[in-house]
Amino acid sequence: MSAADHSLSAWSARILVAAVFLFSVLPLAVMLMMSFSSSEFVRFPPPSFSLRWYENYFTRTDWIESTLRSLWIGATVTAIAVLLGVPASLGIAKLGQRSADAALALATLPIVLPPVVIAVAMYMTFSSVGLVGTRTGIVLGHLTLAIPFVVLTTLASLRRLDPELVRAALSLGASRTRVTFTVTLPIIRPGILAGALFAFLASFDELMISLFVGNPEIRTLPRRMWEGVRSEFDPTVSAASAVVILATLVVVGFAFAVNALARRRRPSIREQTHV
């Protein structure tokens, strides 16, 4: 292969990577730009720029109420999912191979099964016990999607935990409970945080359960956005999308930052325990 050949293939590699990168990012960039358009139709380039869709989003009660409702549901779901999921992962780590596999299969199912099937199943079952059209119904539904994320991420960091640390603490006379709270949990905190983040996003972005188990009175933000696209084209959805993207990036960025900090601090934890 000649040198010319080589640089040619290096260039085609660059172009290919750039093309896929643009395909992934460009639609979102275009939408963000169009959220400042003054037109109520999709028209590119926008006739002029304005903040009318943001004004719409921030001043109309149906948009703000559904946003606050989604935040509240997301926070509730995250809190319960962490309280149930973290102990569950500690338990799974102690199970035998076969039971652990079964527990993991149960935890993976809500992630891989089609959302519409889960939502329909909950709708048909919850309707016979009066949970349809209630916030509790939506929280319970979202909870089953959120717990698996907490379990899977916490378990992943538990598996990376150095068992020597636990053994050392036990040999120094700490009780099992104390070891869990002072050794295990602080070390796996980044995994728990990542799980909490996934759990929150799983609830905050969820549409199908909100459509089937919720009703028009208890709209979540995704449901409000869905209505804004389905009935007639409402560009307020683009402003709401911009808010959702910004919120997501802030939350994800925060988690990355905390994990980076934890990684920088970890060697000192290890030193202390080994001394």
Binding site: V17, V25, V42, F44, L95, T125, M225
Partner: protein, 286 residues
Amino acid sequence: MTDVRRRRGSLVDALRSDERLLVLPAALTLLVFFVVPLAMLVGISFSGDTPLAAYRKFFGSAAAMKILANTVTIAAVVTLVCAVVAVPFSLALSRLPPAYARLALLGVTLPMWISLLVRTYAWLYVLAQEGVTNAALEAVGMPGAPFPLLFNWGSVTVGMVHILLPYMLLPVHNAVTMLDPQLMRAARSLGAGSLRIFATVILPLIARGIATGAILVFILSLGFFVTPQMLGGPRNTMIATYIDVMTNTTLDWPRAAAASTVLVLGVLVCFAILSVLSRKQPQAAP
């Protein structure tokens, strides 16, 4: 009385001594609010006039069978497109300077974090009659522009590929990073051309990564609801929409449940193949 207290005491003791019991609260929650509804769904699918009536209606309906065929076809096409994009992308990525490669990988996987609804909605601005694509085509004087780019299988496919591509990219990228560059150099020094190296050295080594990604993308494609509804027209119906219509409009719950059960069975079969594939993972060479 003492009996009860003793039993209660033993439960607390058991919890204290056996950490495995910590699994129970989460497992019970999933059991009651996830497994039981699914079981009820399967039960409802057999609750028609005769146990199999709903299935007979589902499989006997030409419209439903067309929708089922559409669903499997579009899932297969989306999977194929993702593979055709992901393999060259991952190989190209491995030739870039690491800093660029990391940036590109981040850019391609970052949208995974963002709401599916938002990502699908964004395509409306790209593909609409007066959207970005048509504006660009008109600007370069493409005859026939603007084109009707939205509300057909093409726009549905593009939207689904955009959302599912990361699920193919990550396993393929993992497989590519584990390739030993010495193998390629050896093949080249023995006189093999680029195409031959790709077909006989690279492809067999990353086949497992491609298969993992393909099954993931296929499984997730089967249940898509938002994207075909938003980017497709009335004729671009997939099985998830059919289930929605049967549940909420036709109010034929047994048939909605039967269609759901068929869909779940399809997903579970693919999932079983996936877990067999990942269990047979060869140990990394020393």
